[in-house]
């Protein structure tokens, strides 16, 4: 009886097997890598804005306080975005003919709002409140990164649920003293716990902060 399969066939079968397994592994690794990459969560990616606003220039350079533009951050869940009028308090005098600032001038003249593109876009079933965070020791830079060093605004952290939970499970190392809440750059990269700040802000037990109902409703 002759051989049904040639010697090559054996090789082909093995090759196919290896290729299939390798493809599956590669796909899995690729998906994992993609999932962890900025493409998936948008960290480090600059979003096009109607006006290329620089936090680096305005905050670190000129020393504007965060609350000059984001004025409801201490009173509301929404931090607030500057009105066109707010921009024009300075830019009616400075750079008042700059081509870059034309959209702002036109917005005020035509009474049409600017449409800024959202950089930090939480899922609609997760609710975040700026006020309760800034009044309990979470500084701007804790979530928004070194915003004072960003020429163009981008997301510094993934804003994923696991990232939120890292802090809700163990808030202590992430707290800032009350005079550093609105500081333009991160105070320190230490991960030392701050029990004195936990006491000063009267932070709930972490078991309370990880209840579903804290963020989802």
């Amino acid at each position: 009886m002759t051989q049904l399969f040639s010697p090559l066939a054996d090789f082909v079968v093995r090759l196919v097997f290896v290729v299939v397994v390798a493809t599956v592994i590669l796909l899995a690794v690729g998906a994992w890598a993609w999932w962890r990459s900025p493409y998936a969560d948008g960290t480090g990616i600059i979003v096009d804005q109607p006006v290329p606003f620089s936090h680096e220039h305005h905050v670190s350079g000129l020393g504007l306080d965060c609350r000059y533009c984001h004025l409801s951050v201490e009173n509301s869940s929404f931090a607030g975005m500057p009105t066109s009028y707010t921009c024009m308090t300075c830019h009616s005098q400075l750079w008042d003919e700059s081509e870059m600032l034309r959209p702002v001038r036109e917005s005020l003249a035509r009474n049409e709002p600017l449409r800024w593109q959202r950089v930090h876009n939480l899922a609609d079933f997760a609710f975040f409140d700026h006020r309760v965070h800034v009044s309990n020791g979470v500084g701007c830079t804790s979530c928004h990164g070194d915003i004072g060093e960003m020429p163009l605004t981008m997301k510094a952290h993934s804003m994923s649920m696991s990232w939120c939970l890292d802090c809700h499970r163990n808030p202590s190392p992430h707290l800032e003293p009350s005079d550093r809440i609105f500081a333009a750059s991160a105070q320190s990269t230490d991960s030392e716990p701050h029990p004195e700040l936990m006491a000063a802000y009267d932070i709930d037990e972490p078991s309370r902060l990880v209840q579903c109902s804290i963020c989802h409703r």
Binding site: L108, L114, R115, W116, R118, N121, Q211, S213, H216, R217
Partner: protein, 972 residues
Amino acid sequence: MTRQPKNRRPWQSLAEHDAAPRVFVPGVPDAATPSTTRREFLQLVSASMAAAGLAGCGQRRPEAIVPYVRMPESVVPGQPRHYASTLSLAGIGRGVVVETHEGRPTRIDGNPHHPGSLGTADIFAQAAVLDLYDARRARAPTNADGIASYGALATALADARGGWSKTGGAGLAVLTEPDGSPSFHAALTALRSRWPAIQWYQHDTLLPGNRREATRRLFGQAADAVCRLDHARVVASFDCDILGAGPAQAAMARQYATTRDPQAGGEGFSRWYAVESTPALTGAAADHRLGLPATEIAAGLEQLAAALGVLDGAVEGPLPGHWLRALAGDLRAAGRAALVLVGDHLPVRAHALGILINERLQAPGNTLAYIDPVVPSPDRGLAALAAGIDAGRVTSLLMLCHDPIATAPGDLPLAGLLQRLDFCVHHAPYTGKRSPGDAFWHVPQLHELEAWGDGRAFDGTASLVQPAITPLFSGMTRSELLRLAAGEAAPSGYDIVRGYWRERGGPDFEASWRESLASGLVRDSAAEPLEMRPDPRALPRRDRHSRTGGLSLRLTRDETLWDGRYVRNPWLQELPRPLAKTVWGHCALLAPATAERLGIVSHQRLRITTRAGSVEVSAFVLPGHAAEQLSLSLCTVPEHEEPPGGGAEHFTADVVDSYRLRTGEDLVITEVEVVPLSVHRAVITTQTHHSLHTDDVIREAVLEDYLADPDLLHDEPAERPPEHSLYPPPPEGDYAWAMTIDLNTCIGCNACTLACQSENNIPVVGPAEARRGRVMHWIRVDRYYRDEPQAPRTRFQPVPCMHCEYAPCELVCPTAATLHDDEGLNVMVYNRCIGTRDCSQNCPYKVRRFNWLEYNPYGRDVPLSAARFNPDVTVRSEGVMEKCTYCIQRISRARREAKSENRPIGADEVVTACQSACPTRAITFGDMKNPDARVSGLKKSPRRYDLLGELNTRPRTSYLARLVNPHPDLEE
């Protein structure tokens, strides 16, 4: 103990009553037969499998942040703003507080300072948000040539004005609907003094004017009666649904509730008698209810008048002797604290007798006050207008009236007569019925949430209407249109109303104006009581020819659609009517015995014919309905109006044009023919959608017994399992949220259901889905009957999620999408839910609702419908389970505010939506751990009991048992 009514088995439907012992009655009569073939089904399955794979991918859609160009003063982005304003019903204002988010009105609450609302809003006020965002509203003036400009309207009015000035206004008529607005009537008076020959007519769809006529005869002047139910100890209602839907419902219900409090040892606990034709909320709340057809109720009042000595001699009538003796004795004993109420549809003589009885009891000054009419009326209605047009006295007409053509009685050919007019302007929010060739102008009316104006409460208190949003579509207010007609170039509603009050304001007008805008009402503007004595000699003679036997038809106001004007409102269409629990359509109600005699069954189509016209409508047999009478609510069928840009949520309800049956102003029609047809069209009723497997749902006791032994309601079922569980105890946090619902004061008005719907973005499912039992309300009001179907006692029970401490739903969720938090909330995590529906299957209270389809019109394609959403609550999508959250967004707001201010949450700081809307304050919510919270006290009440407590679910929602106060001689 035989006096204990609580052990009598309650029942929800006639099928259930006839079946013994208690069995499961399928609530869905005939779930729609699947219209899909097997092949299509497989195609759909494969397509949805493919789509499921895609759903996992996809980036979040980019979103824009749109800041103000210039921010208005004192706006905090992200924080709701509240405006005090007024919404009117039947021309009478109810003070409201409008909640707006970023300029969008999303919710209506009652204004606590306003006497007509006392901090709560009825279903119509709450549903106004949906009317505001209705894309079908008229958007521009139209005339015979189609869309026209306001300039063209002004020109047309200027041409017409030339004619009026020559004749002093002869030939011009103004048709209004009831409107208590002082500034509107000032504008109307100004118009009439400029052209004195103007004829004024008023079209009141629901009030035949009998009450007003009776006061005019007996007092010599028209007057409104303002009731003080909180002063009343004995109330007898003759077909007057004072606790039912109406412009003073909130105030009346609150006053009623204050007299049902057993705290003061039964001191001042009221006793209510109701003689009723169509079952209504007042009869359900009453201690004694007697069903009589509307044609015989006046005769019952004659009997009472004779028994109280108002009429001489004994009078034969339909009231049973022992009933009459008990009622008359109670009324006489209560004296000044007694009150007799007479329904609007009863004849003038019945109203006059009511006035005389109240006078004999010395009720005026205590339980009753007469005031000048809140809504001015010319006392000339549509019939007079039709006669005027027919005689040529009216040649041009301003119709400031919702939809007079559709709501005209069937025997009044108004549509044809209007074609004879030279000039006609119709001012209303919807274009309504119009024929293609007619020469009318139609001018869109602004919604009250986008207009300036004012109004008067039922007691005369004036309040302001202020806009909460700039007009979505172009339009005018009534006052503006009158000023435009008078020749003012660009009338402004703000100037009109401010000008009116400035003339009447004191020297410091600016301050009082600002105060009125902030508080919503004009200080000390309630009407003064009139000092008047009725003249008994003016009592109209008894009409001995009026037929009392035989079948009659009563046309009622609709409990959820009012006079048909809310027929386009999906929230109100899907809100179960309190008694019949019908949705998405209306039906002819009749008594079980009458149905049997006529050979009619529920859902059977009937042809009802009167002298005016004929309609076909489904029948529905309602326990407790008066024999030999049919009840049909007044409604119109809206023209098919396709909203520009389409959009979801536009469903067709099974309503009929019942105005076609009306003869003149009559609401009770004796000449009626009913032909049962062989066709059946199922009425959608929600009552049997969710049944609890227990007979111990509603506990109640007789007041006397309760006072003698407060613990008698406390007996637990015999085989109650011991209080321990295999499952670990739930975690315990700083707060323990809990609720009590007082069945003693719940009148079943549905305000809680609608409040919950508007607060929690609960979708409307439409008639097809409602028929399948898929209505989404998080808090349903169950209706139960006790006793026999001819004369049942009606009981209501609102059922939200119980937030069980040992929640059966949580144990069966495969993804832990529903679980406990440490404050006792049974939370739903929507993004974890995969839609197995096991939780709903395992819920003994049947309070979980599943999104079978994408019910919410969410997304960018229907921005107008999405505008009403509460931004603090997730909008759920298809395939997700949902249920009452105890308004977790309000708890969260309170927690975040407290945390930011470094303080604990206050004792009664969190108020749920249902609680805020409840007119009788039957719902109490709070922190059970805090001894100062009201709910902690109520949880200790001897009346407290837990629904299905024997299952050891330990519900956080408890009920307080109902107390009844029957006359000792009338107890069975």
